[in-house]
C-alpha cells in the first residue's frame, strides 16, 4: 500500500496546479487545453472514490432488468466486465422491442445509472437549476 497522498489527493494537487498556476500563464488554444486537462483530473478524482460503488449498483439494476442469468461478480474488475456484457444484452433487447412492456421501469433504471455516471463525469451538468431541457 502506498503512502499518502492517496491517488485522489495527488490528482487534486495536479488539478489545482493547472487551475491556479499553469492556466493563468497561458492564452488561447493552450489555455483551453489546460482547462480540458483540469476537467480530466477532476473526473479521475471523483472516479477514484465513487466508481466502484456506482458499478456495483449498476450491476444490481441490470440484474433486476435482465433476470438472474447474469452472474454475481466477485471483484471490481469482474463487476465492470459483467456490467458491460449486461448492457450489451439490455441494448439489444431494447432494439428488438423486447423491453417495451417494461418501458417505464427500464427508462427509470437507465436514468439512475446515467445520473450516477454524470455525477462522476460532470456533476455540474445535472444542477437543479436546469429545468429547461423539455420542449
Amino acid at each position: 500500500m502506498q503512502d499518502r497522498p492517496t491517488a485522489a489527493e495527488l490528482l487534486s494537487a495536479a488539478r489545482e496546479f493547472c487551475e491556479r498556476e499553469l492556466g493563468p500563464e497561458l492564452t488561447g488554444r493552450l489555455r483551453f487545453q489546460v482547462r480540458v486537462m483540469q476537467n480530466i483530473l477532476g473526473i479521475l478524482e471523483r472516479e477514484w472514490t465513487g466508481e466502484e460503488a456506482a458499478v456495483r449498483a449498476e450491476w444490481e439494476r441490470l440484474r433486476v432488468l435482465l433476470g438472474d442469468r447474469i452472474q454475481e461478480p466477485s471483484s471490481f474488475g469482474e463487476a465492470k466486465q459483467r456490467v458491460l456484457e449486461a448492457n450489451r444484452e439490455l441494448a439489444s433487447r431494447i432494439r428488438r422491442g423486447e423491453m417495451d412492456e417494461r418501458w417505464d421501469e427500464v427508462v427509470a433504471a437507465v436514468f439512475t445509472t446515467v445520473a450516477e455516471k454524470l455525477a462522476i463525469a460532470n456533476p455540474a451538468y445535472s444542477a437543479p437549476a436546469d429545468s429547461s431541457t423539455g420542449a
Partner: protein, 322 residues
C-alpha cells in the same frame, strides 16, 4: 521549421501569385479552434488586410470534398445568408493540403464569451430571431450538387445512427431507448431543403450588433429543415447559457422569425423529435471522436476527454423522452 512558419512561407508565395505582385505575410498565421475535420488559420498581409484559410489537415485523407464547401458558401451569400466571401481557392494543395481563403470578418466565435460578456448583451436579445430568419434563408438555398436523400431523412438518420452504434460496439441502453422512442413517432418530414447541419454558437461570428456570419459548412446536406432548428436548441449547444435557443434566446422568438421569413409554420413536434435525435447524434459523435483518439488515428487530449461527455447527451435524451 514550425508548422505556422512553413504555412507563412507557403501563404506568401500563394498570395503573391494570386495578386500578381510580391506580398509578405504579417505575423505568423494563427491556428483558430473550431471545425472538426478542417483546419482554420487566421493571417494578414503586410498591408494589413486580414484573411482566413480553411484547409484539410495535411497528411490526412480528405473526408469531404472541399469544392462543396466553397460552392455552398457562394450560394449561401446568394440566398441572403451572412457568410464570409471566398477570395481564392487552393484545390491543388499549394498550402500543404487543399483549402480556400476567405475574407476575415471581425467578431467573436467563442460561445462562452458571446453568452457572458456585457459587450454582447444587446446581441443576445435579438439573436434568436436573427437565427430564425437566417435558417429560413438557408432552407431556400439552391440545392444543386447536393445528393437528395434516398428515403425520408428521419428514417435515414435513425438507421444511420443505429448502425453507427453497432459498429462502435459500445453498448448504450439510453440511446437504444431514444432510437426506439423515435422510431415509433416518426414525424411526417414533408419538406426536403438544404440543411446547414451544424448551426450553433461556435460556428457564428458575433459582434455587438448580432450574428455577422455563419461558418463551417462542412456537413451541409439535403434533409429535413427541422433538424437545423432542433440542433440549435439542444442543450449541449447552450454552453450553460439560460436560453433554450443556443443558450441566448427563447424558442418562440426563433419560431416566429422563421415563420415570418419562410411563410412555413414550424412543426413543434417535429422539432422536438429532431432535438432528441440531435442528442443521439451528438452523443454518438462524441464516442466517434473519443475512438479516433483511442484507435490512434489522431492523438488528442481533447478528443479523449470528449468520450466522457457522451453521458451528458444520454441524460438529456432520457429527460426528453420521459
Amino acid at each position: 521549421m514550425s508548422k505556422a512558419a512553413e504555412l507563412r512561407d507557403a501563404l506568401a508565395r500563394f498570395c503573391s501569385a494570386r495578386l500578381g505582385r510580391s506580398v509578405r505575410i504579417g505575423d505568423l498565421p494563427v491556428r483558430l479552434s473550431g471545425g472538426a475535420s478542417r483546419e482554420t488559420w487566421s493571417f494578414h498581409l503586410d498591408d494589413g488586410r486580414a484573411f482566413v484559410l480553411r484547409r484539410d489537415p495535411p497528411g490526412a485523407p480528405a473526408q469531404r470534398q472541399l469544392s462543396n464547401e466553397v460552392d455552398v458558401l457562394r450560394r449561401a451569400a446568394g440566398a441572403g445568408v451572412p457568410v464570409p466571401r471566398v477570395v481564392w481557392t487552393d484545390d491543388a494543395g499549394e498550402l500543404g493540403s487543399p483549402g480556400f481563403v476567405m475574407e476575415h470578418i471581425e467578431g467573436e466565435t467563442i460561445a462562452r464569451k458571446i453568452l457572458r460578456d456585457d459587450e454582447y448583451a444587446a446581441a443576445r436579445g435579438h439573436m434568436a430571431a436573427q437565427c430564425g430568419e437566417i435558417l429560413a434563408r438557408i432552407h431556400t438555398m439552391d440545392a444543386r450538387g447536393l445528393a437528395p436523400p434516398e428515403r425520408k431523412p428521419t428514417e435515414l438518420v435513425l438507421d444511420q445512427y443505429a448502425g453507427l452504434l453497432d459498429s462502435l460496439g459500445e453498448p448504450h441502453p439510453a440511446f437504444e431507448l431514444a432510437l426506439r422512442w423515435l422510431g415509433q413517432r416518426l414525424p411526417p418530414s414533408e419538406r426536403v431543403t438544404v440543411v446547414h447541419g451544424d448551426f450553433r454558437l461556435g460556428n457564428f461570428i458575433v459582434g455587438p450588433d448580432g450574428v455577422r456570419a455563419i461558418l463551417d459548412w462542412e456537413i451541409v446536406h439535403l434533409g429535413d429543415p427541422w433538424e437545423d432548428l432542433a440542433w440549435l436548441c439542444m442543450r449541449s449547444w447552450r454552453f450553460g447559457g439560460p436560453g433554450d435557443v443556443g443558450g441566448f434566446g427563447a424558442r418562440e422568438d426563433l419560431y416566429d422569425a422563421y415563420e415570418q421569413t419562410s411563410g412555413v409554420p414550424v412543426d413543434r413536434d417535429a422539432v422536438h423529435w429532431w432535438e432528441i435525435m440531435s442528442n443521439v447524434k451528438w452523443g454518438v459523435m462524441t464516442i466517434v471522436q473519443a475512438f479516433t483518439h483511442l484507435m490512434g488515428q489522431r492523438h488528442s487530449m481533447e478528443h479523449a476527454a470528449i468520450g466522457r461527455r457522451t453521458v451528458e447527451t444520454e441524460y438529456d435524451v432520457l429527460r426528453l423522452i420521459s
